[in-house]
């Protein structure tokens, strides 16, 4: 195995473009190293990208949007008060990953690029309409986070490409997000179902919404019907029931050791309702004064 510490993104791209066999980028390593030890994936080339300048920075752009460096650990996001105030759903979703020890290393980018359909932060990132800057041998492009995972363990990044930063849109007022996952225990577990909701209000009426499900299909699902069920409502009981029905209807899960098809389908509806209620409360409370 070749191990390379990249000094810049260009350096990383150059090594990755030329590498033969299996290449992995080492961010937090909480997927890469675990898979290596368990004999699941033994990379031929391992490119450490934690030492590139600026990759551990969280910054707010002039338009109010956020830029998250690709080596920012979960714990740093949780401790960032302003980010937490703007995007509690995204931050909480990342905070669910692993334990205190894992939080000191694990990154949003790694969670996204590992390509697990059960990855916790990804539904929240998609609900937030986040995007990524992707750089490669042919230049740089902006890609919606939603379009990066293409199936279990697979992504739309081409050979030599990597993510150089993640972007969260400006929060705006009267809007809020939330993420909930179902696990049989209280922590240290993998989502059986995950659901993120991001919504904006006019008064008490929902004007826009994104509802995203995790672990119920080969990729994350952005469920338009579920959003439609609550847009134009004040999240009354009828809207919540319609939301749950739409979320359950969108599921295409598998039967496995973590849950049955019936169970996952049912719980997706339950979590959609519960996440929507939290996002709605947050949106009501978000008068724009906190930032």
């Amino acid at each position: 195995m070749d191990y390379h510490i990249a000094t810049s993104f260009d350096d990383a791209i150059a090594v990755a473009s030329k590498a033969q066999g299996i290449t992995r980028f080492l961010a937090g390593g909480t997927d890469v190293l675990v898979q290596l030890r368990a004999d699941i994936v033994t990379p031929d080339t391992l490119i450490d990208i934690k030492h590139i300048e600026g990759v551990k920075d969280i910054s707010r752009e002039s338009d109010g949007s956020w830029r998250i460096g690709i080596a920012v650990a979960g714990a740093e996001m949780t401790e960032h008060a302003a980010l937490m105030a703007d995007w509690p759903g995204v931050v909480e979703a990342m905070d669910l990953v692993g334990s205190t020890q894992v939080q000191g290393r694990a990154t949003l980018t790694g969670n996204l690029c590992n390509g697990s359909p059960a990855a916790d932060s990804v539904p929240a990132m998609v609900a937030a309409a986040m995007s990524a800057t992707v750089a490669g041998p042919n230049g740089t492009r902006q890609v919606a986070v939603k379009d990066i995972p293409t199936g279990p363990g697979r992504s739309s990044l081409a050979k030599g490409e990597l993510i150089t930063a993640l972007h969260i849109p400006a929060r705006g007022t009267s809007s809020g997000d939330a993420y909930l996952r179902f696990i049989p225990r209280t922590e240290m577990d993998i989502a059986v179902v995950g659901c993120a909701v991001n919504l904006t209000l006019d008064g008490d009426t929902i004007t826009s919404a994104r509802v995203v499900l995790g672990a119920v299909a080969p990729t994350i699902l952005l469920v338009q019907e579920a959003a439609n069920a609550i847009i134009g409502t004040s999240l009354d009981e009828a809207a919540l029931t319609a939301l749950a029905t739409a979320a359950s209807a969108a599921c295409n899960p598998i039967n496995d050791k973590r849950g049955t098809i019936e169970f996952r389908t049912h719980v997706a509806g339950v979590l959609a309702k519960r996440s929507a209620k939290i996002a709605y409360e947050r949106a009501l409370a978000n008068t724009g004064n906190s930032a």
Partner: protein, 749 residues
């Protein structure tokens, strides 16, 4: 030793809670566990394991592995002794497959190399050709007519004619006339229950370092609950004399019964002999799950008849346990423990030991008993609900007590079940209000406890301190308890006593640390050894004073004249006597070796509050109280630890832990990610009440406490969850999908 009834008062050391002697080593990382053993020139081993649930081994080609640079040797079954009989044959067959791989993970070959990585690469180069055979992993399926046969002729004589060859042992016991009893009942409930196999979940994987030379002399360092047992089995499996193999037990990172047997030690010895180098072998977690010994899974039917006033008129149960690909599932314990808490006129229990294509089961804390309690105490709960009876009052009405003819035969001596029920009834938990979606469950549980062969030596030093040498690995703070008991007898401070676990060459035979026997048996032996030393101390004082030995008593750490007639001498402290012992007759030691009789049985009553989220089926345990009879708590904090540990493991077993096999017969959840033991935040603070009804068979009244604590939880939690969910759960684990399915079925039905 002769007992004039247990000492019940006037304790000075016993009952206090000093820090354990191994505590500092453990919290600073200094303690040496199995994988910490090192030797010069040591090799590292890895095991090739069957990927099939059941397959004939057609051929094994080790040439490519042997050709890999750094590989020193490879062993297969051909490198072990032949001609073994009985359980030794079973153990060898499990340690290294013969002509058939019997379960997913079964060892078929092993490699020793100069590094762990090379060994791991090398096992991928061992080419095994398999002929896959039909398999069965479920206990009921394995008993069915058309089930694949695991091994023809494995059954013993106990099995009635006409049963499938996979049924290898049969048990039947009881008394009275159950049909007559059921006829006299106002309500009879019969129900079917199942439990899945669970793993003891010890954090330290199996690990050993072996050295065996061509001269037939060996050394073995390993993580075990009983190194004399390891010595005996390993010597037989590699064909050397028992006394030529010295075995040293490391500190142990959990065992719970799962380290009373051997898996990797004979393999490391065989590799070492062949390579003529020390060999270290450490299992990874996946190997621990696939190829050590989880508990049995069960299929059970229980029928109980009750009068309107709560009197049980009859009880019967059928308990089917699969124990993997070998005989030994503890079904007789399941059967015998099932109705033990109750004084019954009519009772009958039947057990089946069934082979399947799973790893050979090993003991897990009160082997067989928790499952029995789950079935029996669930039916009692149903009866109480139907008849509108109080669960504790009803159990008290039927409770076994001194003189009761136990469901499994003998008459009970002094026991503390009634006392635990009374304490539970009086506990504020039992009457505390419940919140929304919450339910309360109660259950009793029983375990026999064991004594076993025991040797202890106690030696006094010149400065008046003492060392105790015991042979039972310390799996629950027992070194502290031994030192407390010796301090009590000798009258010297706890801190002046060091307790060591000797290797097999340094002390006489000791049975494994199992059966909750250590504080009872090694404790009794420690007290006896101390009394032996005290007798010698008194002898030295008598000689000095020129009086009869009988005229000297031992009090407060001093020899004293027994009364005014004995003479007027100043008390002679222990350190005074030992200071000059070299000149007054030589070293002063105390010994004890015997198989004590009188390990008192133990009962517990647990109270649990569970909250069930009806939308997701997720259960939270919101309150838990353990009430158990300890006989006498030598170190109350460690007794509480045992109570809490049993409850915690029971919570895992009841709610989420299970062996999940695929259609292909392979274990699907061989990592802690998907084998869900509770994490700290899953557990409430587990409250404890220590009841002390002295065991007449121990000088201080000690009863073992390690196992009884896991007997009631499955049932108590099932009763709580069933109350909270409003539907009876019959199958463990009560995982969220199962609870949701039960709620849906109730709505539809």
């Amino acid at each position: 030793m002769a007992l004039d009834g247990p000492k019940t008062s006037g304790f000075t050391a016993v009952g206090t809670t000093p820090n354990r002697p191994d505590g500092l080593d453990k919290v600073t990382g200094r303690a040496k566990f199995g994988a910490d053993a090192q030797a010069p020139g040591m090799l590292h081993a890895a095991i090739v394991r069957s990927p099939h649930a059941h397959a004939r081994i057609v051929s094994i080609d080790t040439s490519k592995a042997e050709a890999l640079k750094g590989v020193k040797t490879v062993v297969t079954r051909a490198d072990f002794t032949t001609g073994l009989k009985g359980e030794n044959w079973n153990i060898l067959e499990n340690v290294m497959a013969g002509d058939t791989a019997l379960y997913d993970g079964h060892a078929v070959a092993a490699v020793a190399a100069i590094s762990p990585l090379i060994a791991r690469d090398a096992i991928k180069l061992v080419e095994v050709e398999y002929q896959v055979l039909p398999h069965v992993t479920n206990v009921d399926a394995a008993m069915a007519q058309d089930a694949p046969i695991i091994r023809e002729g494995a059954a013993n004589k106990s099995v009635p004619a006409g049963l499938h060859p996979n049924v290898v042992r049969y048990h039947e016991s009881g008394h009275g006339d159950v049909d007559k009893g059921f006829a006299a009942a106002d309500l009879v409930i019969e129900d079917h229950f199942t439990t899945e196999a669970t793993h003891q979940g010890y954090i330290e994987p199996h690990a050993c370092l072996a050295q065996l030379g061509g001269d037939g002399k060996g050394e073995l360092w390993c993580c075990t609950q009983g190194h004399w047992n390891v010595q005996k089995i390993c010597a037989a499996l590699v064909g050397i004399e028992t006394s030529q193999l010295r075995v040293t037990a490391s500190e142990i990172g959990g065992g719970f019964g799962g380290k009373t047997v051997v898996f990797i030690e004979p393999v490391a010895l065989a590799l070492s002999r062949k390579a003529n180098r020390p060999v270290k072998l450490v299992m990874n977690r996946s190997e621990v799950f696939r190829a050590s010994g989880p508990t049995s899974s069960t299929s059970m039917d229980v029928k109980i008849g009750m009068k309107n006033d709560g009197t049980i008129t009859a009880a019967s149960g059928t308990f089917r346990l699969q124990g993997g690909a070998f005989p030994g599932a503890p079904m007789e314990f399941t059967a015998m423990c099932a109705f033990a808490p109750y004084a019954l006129e009519n009772v009958r229990q039947v057990g089946y030991d069934v082979m399947t294509n799973r790893p050979k089961q090993a003991a897990y804390r009160a082997p067989g008993s928790p499952m029995a309690a789950f079935a029996v105490e669930s039916v009692i709960d149903e009866l109480c609900k139907e008849l509108g009876l109080d669960p504790i009052q009803t159990r008290l009405k039927n409770a076994s007590h001194e003189g009761t003819k136990a469901s499994f035969g003998p008459k009970f001596d002094k026991i503390g079940l009634v006392e635990t029920l009374e304490a539970a009834k009086a506990h504020p938990h039992f009457t505390a209000p419940l919140g929304e979606n919450q339910g309360r469950g109660v259950s009793c549980g029983f375990w026999f406890n064991h004594s076993g062969e025991t040797s202890v030596t106690l030696a006094l030093s010149e400065d008046g301190s003492a060392q105790i040498v015991v042979g039972t690995p310390d799996i629950g703070g027992s070194r502290a308890s031994m030192a407390l008991m010796a301090a009590e007898e000798l009258g010297i401070p706890y801190e002046n006593i060091r307790c060591t676990i000797a290797d097999t060459a340094s002390l006489g035979y000791n049975e494994v640390s199992h059966g909750s026997r250590v504080t009872y048996a090694s404790g009794l032996a420690t007290i006896a050894a101390a009394r032996d030393a005290v007798k010698r101390l008194c002898g030295r004082a008598a000689a000095k004073w020129g009086i009869d030995e009988e005229a000297v008593v031992w009090e407060d750490g001093c020899a004293k004249p027994s009364g005014p007639n004995a003479g007027d001498f100043d008390p002679l402290p222990l350190a005074e006597i030992t200071r000059t012992m070299g000149a007054t007759g030589g070293p002063i030691n105390g010994h004890f070796e015997a198989t004590p009789e009188g390990a008192g049985v133990s009962f517990a009553t647990h109270i649990v509050d569970a909250e069930v989220d009806p939308e997701t089926g997720k259960t939270s345990i919101v309150r838990y109280t353990v009430v158990q009879d300890a006989g006498k708590a030598i170190h109350p904090a460690y007794v509480e630890g045992q109570f809490q540990g049993g409850a915690a493991q029971g919570i895992g077993w009841a709610l989420n832990e299970e062996y999940i096999y695929g259609e292909d017969g392979r274990l699907q959840n061989d990592l802690f990610l998907d084998y869900r033991i509770p994490v700290a935040s899953d557990l409430p603070m587990i409250d404890t009440v220590i009841v002390e009804v002295p065991n007449p068979g121990h000088p201080y009244g000690v009863r073992g406490v390690g196992e009884t604590s896991i007997c009631p939880p499955l049932a108590a939690i099932a009763n709580a969850v069933s109350a909270a969910a409003g539907v009876r759960l019959h199958d463990l684990p009560m995982s969220p999908p199962r609870i949701r399915a039960a709620l849906d079925a109730q709505k539809d039905g």
